[in-house]
Each structure stands twice: as structure tokens, then as C-alpha cells.
């Protein structure tokens, strides 16, 4: 899944914004040729005689939607890395209502007012100045209703999750919804605007059919699951396991535990019983089969986050590593030799001689614990000055690619 590109690595930090500039120019051209520089044309939407706004917007949305999920279906685009505006339901609805009022009074939305001003329209210019003023007032007043502004937060929450149907089915339903809206809009234009539908171009039926057919194809292919994702990246990632590039030695983990610049997450994927017997200080316990429920949270962590997956040996940790890497979580590593190796390195001699388990299954504890003391062992948080360990550094922070902040971040 080569896209979205890591533009910062490819072009450099500021240079990568040239791509955004080019996209912005194309966006400005499209808004202008659609006639969105003219406030009368925009406001007409609300008097039903000219539904250009609805047609352009919905066409843009469903065309982009079909293309995004088609690219994702064929493993070209990693949808996990595409920014989805987080849902803050009520602030969004209240803000939307306020914007609707501003739209009908002022005749623009922020983007179109810029196009309007750029083509010489003074009303567009005054609207843009007003928008700056509104933004300024918001920045100064949001502190007084911050609880509301952060309320009803659902994070990255998409319609397929809301309706509990597949992404492909959602795409088809939304295309049908848009086509229905267009038919409705054309009737409104006929009734209220006196438009002659016979004069409207015939190719729009062909375009509608093509769009719907594409949506159905996207639905039939389906979106890739974790196994599909692993199969597309296997050739690149499996050698990293074989070469032991991602199995981090205990000495490095110990150093990372004391590195304040790194947000180290010690992800203990063993069953709770084993975790209760003994775990590293500050480790979080998420059993391997529960990991898929947390991937969204993992992807949302700060850029300096390093995940260290831990099992008794390496088997479960390796599987979880594959899952997390397949699902686009950055900076995932696993503890070399797992908990058993950790104990071998850091436990005192008495413990090791007193408690070995004679015969055991792979990925089971190699030492017997008489009580569930969790991290209340000195080996849960060893003193690095006592253990002067040598190790090969494996952890390298990778800059995350993909969408960083929303349309208005």
C-alpha cells in the first residue's frame, strides 16, 4: 500500500507543502469554474431555483468516495492512513447550524469567499474579512465553553461502523442517495427555476450509471482485512522478522524505559493470569486476541510512541507484531526472548535456581511464581547502573505518513 506518500521524507518538510499548494490551486480552479465565486449563485441553493451547490458538492463527495475506496480495495491506498475528521457530534451540529445562518446572510462559505475575493468580488472580500473576525472571536471565547466543545467525542467514527454494514455497501447506498438527491434537485429547478430538463446534457445519465457500477464493483471486491494487508506487505516485512531487525534486546528496552523523549508502551499480550504473576513496570495488558479492538487507538498515539510487544517467549508477540504492522501502526517492536529472557537476564541467581519449570510449551512461562506480585519485583524495573548491558540499537523512530489533521486543523 504505497499511498498516501510520505511526502516529508520524499521532498523535505517545507517542500512537501508544494503538493498541498498544487492541490489548493486545482481546488480554487474547480470552485471558480463551478461558479462559486458568485454569491447569488450560492444563495440560490436555498431558494430551490438553482441547485448548483448541492449538485457540485454531492458529486464531488461521491466521486472522491468511490475513488478512495476503490484505491483501498486494490491495496493502492492505505485507508488507515487517510485522515477522517473525528466526530464531535454536537459541536459539529451547532457549528453547522451557525454556518447555515452565515451562509444565507453572507452568501458564501469560507473557501468560496476566497475565490470570490480573488476574482474581484468585493462582497467576497468583506465576507472573508468577516470570517477572519468570526474565527478571531471564536479563539477568544472558546475557553468559556470548552466542555461543550470537547463533548460527544466519538473519534474516528465512520458510517459503516454506525450502521454496522460493510464499507462497500455504505458506498453504494451513498451513491444511490446522491443520485436520488440529484433527481430531486432537477425537479426543484424545473418547478421553481423554470429549467427545461430536456436541455440538460444526456451524458449525465451515463456518468451516473458508471458511478453506480463502480460503487457496486468496490462493494464486491471488499476492503482488505488484516490478513490481506499482511499478504501485500509480507515480502517487505517478513525479512525484518527473519533478520531480527525488530526484536529488541532487554538492555535497549531498559534504556527506553528511562528515555523521557520516547512514549514507550510496553504492550504485554499474555493472558491476564500470566500478567498478574509478573510483568514489567508500567506494562499494559491487552491479551493477543483483544488487540484488534485497540488498533484505532494505537494509530492515534503521538509520533514519539514506540510499541514494545511482549509475550512469554516470542510467538504471540510476533503474531501481534504482524497484526499491528499490517494495520499501519508505526514504530512496533517486540521484546527479544520475551518475559522468559527478561527474567534470565535480570532475576537474581536465587530466583532462577529455585523456580525453573522443567518441561513447558512454547510461549509459556519458564519460571514458576508462587504468588501474583505483578511488577513488585526488582526485576520488573531493574537498575541500569547495576546491569551494564551491551546491545545493538534497533529502535528507530519513523515519521508517520498520511493525514495529520483535519480539513481545518
Amino acid at each position: 500500500m504505497p499511498f498516501p506518500l510520505n511526502l516529508e521524507d520524499l521532498l523535505g518538510h517545507w517542500e512537501s507543502y508544494l503538493v498541498s499548494l498544487a492541490i489548493g490551486i486545482a481546488f480554487g480552479v474547480v470552485l471558480e469554474v463551478a461558479g462559486f465565486g458568485d454569491s447569488r449563485r450560492l444563495a440560490a441553493q436555498f431558494y430551490l431555483g438553482d441547485m448548483t451547490v448541492l449538485k457540485v458538492m454531492f458529486t464531488g463527495i461521491v466521486v472522491a468516495m468511490v475513488m478512495v475506496f476503490a484505491a483501498s480495495a486494490v491495496n493502492l491506498l492505505d485507508f488507515n492512513l487517510v485522515w477522517v475528521n473525528p466526530t464531535y457530534l454536537w459541536p459539529g451540529i451547532v457549528g453547522g447550524l451557525i454556518m447555515g445562518v452565515g451562509f444565507i446572510i453572507g452568501g458564501f462559505c469560507p473557501g468560496t469567499s476566497l475565490v470570490s475575493a480573488a476574482t474581484g468580488r468585493l462582497d467576497g472580500l468583506f465576507f472573508a474579512i468577516g470570517a477572519f473576525f468570526g474565527i478571531f472571536v471564536f479563539g477568544e471565547t472558546v475557553g468559556s465553553f470548552e466542555d461543550f466543545w470537547y463533548s460527544s467525542y466519538e473519534g474516528r467514527y465512520i458510517i459503516p461502523e454506525f450502521l454496522n454494514i460493510s464499507t462497500g455497501a455504505t458506498v453504494v447506498i451513498l451513491v444511490l442517495f446522491a443520485l436520488f438527491a440529484f433527481a430531486f434537485a432537477e425537479q426543484m429547478e424545473r418547478i421553481f427555476g423554470g429549467a427545461d430538463l430536456k436541455k440538460a446534457p444526456k451524458w449525465r445519465f451515463g456518468a451516473a450509471g458508471t458511478l453506480l457500477a463502480s460503487a457496486v464493483v468496490v462493494m464486491l471486491i471488499g476492503q482488505p482485512d488484516t490478513d490481506d494487508r499482511w499478504n501485500t506487505i509480507k515480502d517487505e516485512k517478513a525479512p525484518m522478522l527473519a533478520n531480527r531487525d525488530v526484536q529488541v534486546q532487554p538492555g535497549e528496552v531498559l534504556a527506553l524505559m528511562r528515555d523521557d523523549r520516547i512514549n514507550l508502551i510496553l504492550l504485554d499480550v499474555r493472558e491476564e493470569a500470566d500478567f498478574n504473576l509478573f510483568h514489567l513496570l508500567d506494562a499494559v495488558n491487552i491479551p493477543a486476541d483483544k488487540i484488534p479492538n485497540h488498533l484505532k487507538d494505537f494509530r492515534a498515539k503521538s509520533a514519539n510512541t514506540v510499541f514494545m510487544v511482549i509475550s512469554n517467549d516470542e510467538k504471540a508477540a510476533t503474531e501481534v507484531w504482524k497484526t499491528m504492522v499490517s494495520e499501519s501502526v508505526p514504530n512496533v517492536y517486540l521484546l527479544e526472548g520475551g518475559i522468559n529472557n527478561w527474567i534470565t537476564v535480570f532475576a537474581d541467581a536465587d530466583f532462577k535456581t529455585a523456580t525453573p519449570v522443567e518441561s513447558r510449551a512454547d510461549d509459556a512461562l519458564a519460571y514458576a511464581f508462587t504468588s501474583a506480585l505483578g511488577s513488585r519485583y526488582s526485576m520488573a524495573n531493574p537498575n541500569p547502573d547495576v546491569f551494564q548491558l551491551e546491545y545493538t540499537t534497533k529502535v528507530k523512530l519513523q515519521a508517520a505518513r498520511g493525514g495529520k489533521s483535519g480539513g481545518c486543523g
Binding site: 444563495a43 472522491a64 453547522g96 462559505c109 469560507p110
Partner: protein
């Protein structure tokens, strides 16, 4: 626009903004065709960068950049502004600023090439020029305030979030239309 030239035959919408200037303004593009182009631009943005489009976010950051230049202490004491411009953080260091600048450049270029650039004030027949400016400012202020409350404007929330199926973006989109339609009847004299 050569694209538009070749497409012109397909478009049968009459010219809506007669400029009266020397060069005749070309007709606007068919709305569906403009929508398809918009969809391709939006997809390209997601495909290449992982981000959608935006406008008010860029305006926000330019404003905060101004505030940070004039009253840096105030910025450092206001949580909302701090996030964008606290201490050494450069508020202009964001893709959305460049998309916004692009919109201005693209809008101007297209308007100019199509003979649609004109210094004028578009208004309803019963509204004076000064009244229209005032209403535009007031509408803009509502729009700017609402856009920040909703964490995005028509471009950043409705278009971008809508295309990637965000629940909040779709709820937002219906709210914008609802707000507009609810008030439209009462302010019809502004436009008719």
C-alpha cells in the same frame, strides 16, 4: 482553460454573469462536470497526502500567526491558540495554509483566464452595495465562528469528511443545509 474549452460543447448552461467588459465571460461549467473535477481533486489530495481539502483552517492559522506576531504572550496564555502557535510553534507550518493560498491563486487564475475577473459586488436587487458589504461581513463572522466550532468548514468537514464517511461530517453537512433553509424564507428579500 483548455479543459474547459474542449468541454464547452457539452455545456449548455447560459452565461449567468455577463460582465459587460470587452472580453466576454465564459459560461460556468456544468455542475455535475465541476463536481466530477472536484471529486478528482479531493481524491488526489487523499491519495497523495492522506489529508482532504480545507479553507477555514488556513484562515485560522494565518490569523493566529498575526496574533502571535502582535501579542505572543496572549497566545501563550490561551489554550486554543497555544496549540497552534505556543512558544516556538509556527502556525504557518501546516498543509492547510498552503491549500488555502492555492485556492486564492487558482481562483484568481481561472477567473482571469475565463474573462470572469471583475471588480464588482454581487447582490440581490433590493440590497444596496453598502448593505451587501455589511451583510457579507456579518455572514462571514457567523461562518467563521461556526466553522471553528464545528472544526471545519464546508471544504474541511462536509466535502473531505463526507467522502471518507465520517459520521460527524455528515451530521454537520445536514446541519448547514438545515440552518440555511430554516432562515432562507425570512431573509428572501436579501436575494430576490
Amino acid at each position: 482553460m483548455t479543459v474547459q474549452g474542449s468541454i464547452k460543447k457539452l455545456v449548455r448552461i447560459p452565461t449567468r454573469s455577463a460582465t459587460g467588459g470587452k472580453r466576454e465571460a465564459r459560461a460556468y461549467l456544468n455542475p455535475y462536470l465541476a463536481g466530477i473535477l472536484l471529486g478528482v481533486v479531493l481524491f488526489s489530495s487523499f491519495f497523495l497526502t492522506g489529508n482532504g481539502l480545507g479553507a477555514s483552517g488556513g484562515m485560522n492559522r494565518i490569523l493566529v500567526w498575526g496574533q502571535d506576531t502582535l501579542v505572543p504572550d496572549h497566545v501563550d496564555r490561551t489554550a486554543y491558540l497555544l496549540e497552534m502557535a505556543g512558544g516556538e510553534t509556527n502556525p504557518m507550518d501546516s498543509w492547510v495554509v498552503f491549500v488555502m493560498l492555492g485556492v486564492i491563486v487558482g481562483g484568481f487564475t481561472s477567473g482571469w483566464l475565463n474573462g470572469r475577473f471583475k471588480i464588482e459586488t454581487n447582490r440581490g436587487p433590493h440590497v444596496s452595495v453598502k448593505m451587501r458589504w455589511m451583510l457579507a461581513f456579518i455572514g462571514g463572522a457567523f461562518m467563521g465562528y461556526g466553522a471553528r466550532m464545528a472544526r471545519g468548514c464546508t471544504s474541511g468537514q462536509a466535502l473531505s469528511g463526507g467522502a471518507v464517511l465520517s459520521v460527524g461530517s455528515w451530521a454537520f453537512m445536514f446541519a448547514v443545509f438545515a440552518g440555511g433553509y430554516a432562515l432562507a424564507y425570512f431573509v428572501r428579500r436579501l436575494w430576490h
